[in-house]
Symmetry: C2
Subunit: 278 residues, 2 copies
Amino acid sequence: MTLQKNWHCKEAPIGIFDSGVGGLTVAREIARSLPNENLVYFGDTARVPYGSKSKDNIIRYSRQIIRFLETKKVKAIVIACNTASALALEVVCKEIDIPIIGVIVPGAKVAVETTRSKKIGVIGTEATIHSNVYTTIMQQTDKEIEVVDKACPLFVPLVEEGFAKHKVTQEIIDYYLSPMKASGIDTMILGCTHYPLLRSRIKEYLGEGITLVNPAYETALNLRELLLKQQLLNETKQEGATSYEFYVSDAAEKFKEFANSIFPYDASTTQEINIEEY
Amino acid sequence: MTLQKNWHCKEAPIGIFDSGVGGLTVAREIARSLPNENLVYFGDTARVPYGSKSKDNIIRYSRQIIRFLETKKVKAIVIACNTASALALEVVCKEIDIPIIGVIVPGAKVAVETTRSKKIGVIGTEATIHSNVYTTIMQQTDKEIEVVDKACPLFVPLVEEGFAKHKVTQEIIDYYLSPMKASGIDTMILGCTHYPLLRSRIKEYLGEGITLVNPAYETALNLRELLLKQQLLNETKQEGATSYEFYVSDAAEKFKEFANSIFPYDASTTQEINIEEY
């Protein structure tokens, strides 16, 4: 049994990390579901994007970030990045004694519970899709599940450059998703943290017959269960505001701008750190 | 006067570096203009893209890559990345005794020589445009030059994801460049190494009245002049093939695929190195 270290108290913050700004969609869901919790968010903006990088590097980056979050005395860690959840969680969870969860398992679990046709769509970055991790996890639960997956590498830059509502985004959605729309799936996982920001466009394109699963939302619910089970849930209202701290590895200004556009809390305190030192 | 070190011989290779694959358009022009030269190419695929990162980090990355290229005993270095040329060249050129050039000055010089209206367009990454470096250099030559610039951050992912010929690229060209088309420029600099791969689409959009400047081509000519002047030009045909070596900081497989599609020489020898060690 793992020894509880003295910083594992209910008031300690939850650490959340991502390759950049995308994980803020996960932080947003956690803040909504767990309004009493303090959060420390790290966005690896110096090394974004993870989606096109190798497994070895993603593991190295994740270890550095976990060491940084440990200095913030976090009581739990959420890997808010699908790529890092797919490639690094299995390795790093064995190396630390803080509870740690990723976004893949919660999303996969709900997709399997939701589907009637047993045919599930998954979209994500190249690395996530190539890792086959959603398929592996869903078929461990139900081996009859059939998966139709597609890497959609242009969705992230389109969202980050403010094209979410531009008509070219509709055409790129059509380009990537037309075979999926015709494939007979009834459930689709938005397997990249940026994709919830295209949710309404994708929903409109795929139609009412396909249920979209947002792993960010499911992860927040899973985190709540985990904290309850470990008696780490902060159930008492804090005096003053809940604390949200934001750290990045580069270009704090640009992060703040994007963060303030999607996160309903002020990210003005964003600090830049040198992650290679951890 | 700088001492000539013993590896500064004509047979030594030329070092070329970029944030990723884009600089291969520069390597291609150098290989065409200087067919006897051996080349060592480094693509920083672990930390790509540079365009959205800070000056301090771009300088740190450039220093590490120069240290790596020095281990390959290069006789000259070409910074084939507009962002690194804009943000790091001025600093790093004072720190080494190997001749080093970037892609900005050659492109800026030819644009000033070409324009009649003295109104020049510049497109590039956010970091390049934000640095204002093309404008500064062109106005140093002719203070009457007026510059119309525009960051086009979606062009790189569109090229890298194989959308160069897709119709959405035409719409994004229109989105970014319609004010520029109407602005009265007669010359436009393709201020990012990926953009020559969209050259014909941009040319078609802007029409015959606007001359496109490709800094990759001008850089190859400048390099030739520099090597001649320093008596470092390799004018004798080598026995066997000229040597082209490719190194990357991550995902060598993906690099090879893209490299082979735009570079007319086999990049199958691409090796991955840990650039953080330099």
